[in-house]
């Protein structure tokens, strides 16, 4: 799952002309560590939903990769 998330994270980064990250760790903060603003977070949710069928921001807000994974594992 982390591998698929890494691909999605890097797609969002690439689209905003940021270099790809080599790895993502559960403690990574989506905003401060990965540099995502609100438009990027919106894009991330759509791409994750397309891949996993889960809207990670549906009923509460997630801050970290670990929280994204928890939502996907529900």
């Amino acid at each position: 799952m982390l591998e698929q998330l890494l691909t999605i994270v890097n797609t969002v980064r690439e689209n905003k002309s940021l270099p790809p990250v080599a790895e993502i760790k559960p403690e990574f903060d989506l905003r401060t560590d990965l540099g995502f603003d609100s438009l990027d977070l919106a894009e991330l949710t759509v791409r994750i939903e397309k891949e996993f069928g889960v809207d990670i921001f549906a009923d509460s807000f997630v801050l970290t990769i670990a929280e994204v994974m928890a939502k996907l594992n529900k």
Binding site: E14, N15, K16, S17, R31, T32, D37, S38, L39, L41, A42, E43, T45, V46, R47, D55, F57, A58, D59, S60, F61, L63
Partner: protein, 409 residues
């Protein structure tokens, strides 16, 4: 000179007192008639100088591209050109506030994205911009979190509310979540007016912020989950929802999502659409009035009760897409995309999204293979960031309606 704080701007880490802005106003010798800058203090000082000298102003988003300016019929050479003004000798904050109120007919021009691809120009007099401003002792210690674009009507209304009460403004616009929360704490912010998306992006709120007394929101749907979360973290705050438009500013208020019309001579509902009376409007050059009296807002509502009328907003009748409180005109984006030599046809639409309300999507027909990144890089110098589609689907064809228009659902 007053050492009361006028502005703290996190983007420059600078703070300015009322004494400082008065000294700057006294010494400034020019006004920018077409104001287009990123620096918040420069914008505020320019507005104050323009009002004090009664020089009419045009406010432009600092990130407008050459193409966007062209669409507004503005020649980029006029931007930040200065008009000389005489110097003042203002000695106190009270004198400053009096000076500003002396010119009620001062005019400010703003732009709003029109529904037909042509942006609308709206001209406000100071008197209409400050109609909703409440000045009293009760407001003298308010500390405002400034969470709107300073070149949009909502931001200007917060600016004048704060300025005319000599309040402190703390910039929190486009600040990252942890920064916003830190600023609320450090400056004991009491009032925040922002879009639902701004508040949504503060979640999860794990602490309490007792200094906040009033939260105002508007511009998008406000859900009860969000209001519950906000009221838990801001235990001393009252939450109110406002209906505002670039044409009219704030005109209706509600505690939750149900609005009531107190004065039926100013607002009315016809066939499920909200109409506002021309007396509430700025001097729009392209506003179409029914019977010369009423402006159709394009906002569809569900009437809940009559006498007095109360209603809830449904969706907009026109095709504007609300992305985090910013209205995007799909035609404008399609036109920009179709400037790309390999794009045959483009269709822009909104998809509902938990973060932004709506996210901008594009279906594109291309003549040769292109990547999303290439298209986004092509659009970046042409459009403001919120107008750039975040998901681009490459398709074989785009379905048209019988009239040959793109089919919008």
């Amino acid at each position: 000179m007053s050492d009361k704080l006028f502005l703290h701007d996190y983007t420059t880490s600078k703070t300015y007192t009322y004494g400082q802005i008065i000294a700057d106003l006294n010494s400034v010798s020019e006004v920018y008639e077409y104001c287009c800058t990123r620096d918040l203090y420069t914008i505020f000082l320019n507005i104050i100088t323009a009002v004090a000298h009664n020089v009419n102003l045009v406010l432009l988003d600092s990130d407008f591209s050459e193409l966007e300016l062209q669409n507004l019929s503005i020649d980029s050479s006029v931007i930040m050109q200065s008009i000389p003004v005489q110097q003042f000798n203002i000695n106190s904050t009270d004198e400053l506030i009096c000076k500003l109120q002396n010119n009620p007919d001062w005019k400010l021009t703003l732009f709003t994205s029109g529904t037909t691809g042509i942006p609308k120009k709206v001209v406000h007099k100071l008197i209409s911009l400050t109609r909703a401003v409440r000045i009293s002792e009760r407001h003298s210690d308010d500390i405002w979190g400034f969470a709107y674009n300073p070149t949009h009507i909502a931001g200007l209304q917060v600016f004048f509310q704060a300025l005319l009460n000599a309040n402190t403004l703390v910039n929190i616009f486009e600040a990252e979540r942890t920064k916003v929360l830190e600023l609320i704490k450090n400056f004991n912010i009491t009032n925040i007016s922002a879009t639902p998306t701004f508040f949504r992006l503060l979640l999860p709120l794990q602490e309490e912020y007792p200094s906040v007394k009033k939260l105002t929101s508007g511009g998008e749907k406000f859900d009860s989950n969000l209001s519950d979360n906000l009221l838990a973290a801001f235990p001393n705050a009252k939450l109110r929802n406002v209906y505002a438009s670039t044409e009219a500013g704030t005109i209706l208020e509600a505690k939750d999502d149900t609005f009531s019309i107190k004065d039926e001579s100013l607002c009315m509902i016809v066939d499920g659409e909200l109409y506002i009376h021309k007396s509430l409007l700025g001097e729009g050059t392209a506003l179409v009035m029914e019977d010369g009296e009423w402006y159709a807002t394009g906002d569809l509502v569900d009437v809940i009760e009559t006498n007095p009328t109360s209603f809830r907003f449904q969706q907009r009748k026109n095709e504007m897409i609300n992305v985090g409180g910013y209205k995007v005109n799909p035609y404008e984006v399609e036109q920009a995309l179709e400037k790309h030599p390999l794009v045959k046809q483009a269709y822009i639409y909104g998809k509902s999204n938990a973060v932004l309300g709506n996210i901008l999507m594009a279906d594109i027909v291309v003549t040769e293979v292109l990547s999303e990144r290439e298209l986004r890089e092509f659009l970046a110098p042409l459009l403001q960031p919120f107008k750039i589609p975040r998901i681009i689907n490459f398709v074989d064809s785009i379905e048209l309606t019988r009239t040959g228009k793109l089919k919008r659902t």
